[in-house]
Symmetry: C3
Subunit: 169 residues, 3 copies
Amino acid sequence: MKGLTLILGGARSGKSRKAEELVTALPGPWVYIATAQAFDAEMQDRIRLHQGGRADGWVTVEEPLDLVAALSRANATGRPVLVDCLTLWLTNIILAGREVEGETARLLDLLPGLTVPVALVGNEVGLGIVPDNRLSRLFRDHAGRLHQDIARIADKVLFMAAGLPMQLK
Amino acid sequence: MKGLTLILGGARSGKSRKAEELVTALPGPWVYIATAQAFDAEMQDRIRLHQGGRADGWVTVEEPLDLVAALSRANATGRPVLVDCLTLWLTNIILAGREVEGETARLLDLLPGLTVPVALVGNEVGLGIVPDNRLSRLFRDHAGRLHQDIARIADKVLFMAAGLPMQLK
Amino acid sequence: MKGLTLILGGARSGKSRKAEELVTALPGPWVYIATAQAFDAEMQDRIRLHQGGRADGWVTVEEPLDLVAALSRANATGRPVLVDCLTLWLTNIILAGREVEGETARLLDLLPGLTVPVALVGNEVGLGIVPDNRLSRLFRDHAGRLHQDIARIADKVLFMAAGLPMQLK
């Protein structure tokens, strides 16, 4: 893996595992930017479990909102980076009342200049029936646009299903 | 692009952009058959915005229901045609209380005889959890069947994700 | 078709038809393991209709829960087998209050030892917006994991869209 890799897929499609596999094929240590937020005890447990499941050699950074800052710092270390995941980050941005267009524009400005290999994981959420609430429709619009924008500048784009990759780019 | 092209994908997957790209690679002017209905002022604005976003050289035809008639007339002009989209057309047919099987049969009868290049855009809606209301389940059955029927007679079928095409046929 | 084939796809994507096509390309008769349960008269009619729609040469076995037993018996006959579908079986397991991990583990233990060609059909349900009820989220987690586990040991994996296959493996 080199440059920017975008790994898309549905729930339980093997996105994260594929991303970890690609990143850990490079010499470590590696930076894991986790965008999940621990809102409650259950979520804290899940995140701890997740961390425990990863191989040694990962440096975990928890950053629900300032992904650009976290990526910049990771880039300065010269280490390969995995961001898991764009979809939770976007959710956090919206819940925090931040302006999505501005935040995603800052991310898209940063990405081409990164010098370390970066794998970005994203959830594909636009292939079901049109959601009946406006927020869900807005969310999938934002997520879809972000994926398109990143795919355009990515070196490689994978779409996962049942743990298997389809290479889109 | 020649003959019949079906472009499928989820919300914000880049379907319409890919379809416009394929059609405008042919000598213009081109016919754009828009099936969206302006139920309210917001939708009117969105449609106007959409029209403004398209390159010069498009002749836009708004036809929420009589797609067969619109396609026949477009075919008579000898110009390449884009239909955006089948899914809204199907929704309109159902909301208007028309019989889906009859309407789709008429479309499927017409398509093989068209002499101009035609790109049809469709929303893939069947890859989420089974919807809990009967109408949504019926709708995705109809949409899935229509896509299968058109894919069978299409010269080319693309499945879009993150703005990138997978060629199914 | 030989060994184990997994055929995934959304609603009305042509999964069952493709599976029947692959199985009936082998010398018959063939065993059809149907996991659908006839809860009411409408469902009974639908199942009967489904059976009627299949070509001669199919031996239909209705088995909503004990898929392992049904597959073992089918294997003993030496005949090619189609299971339609994994997703309904998983639903039945959950509704019956059985333990999903144990049941899927038994299936995964059995599959590699089967000597007849087997086609398994599964519904991809993880590509829409995150469902707002916990049971649906759990269900798509289970379904996604099962598909990944089977894909890992399968000889061939297809992802269907609009009746057309993408070969993942």
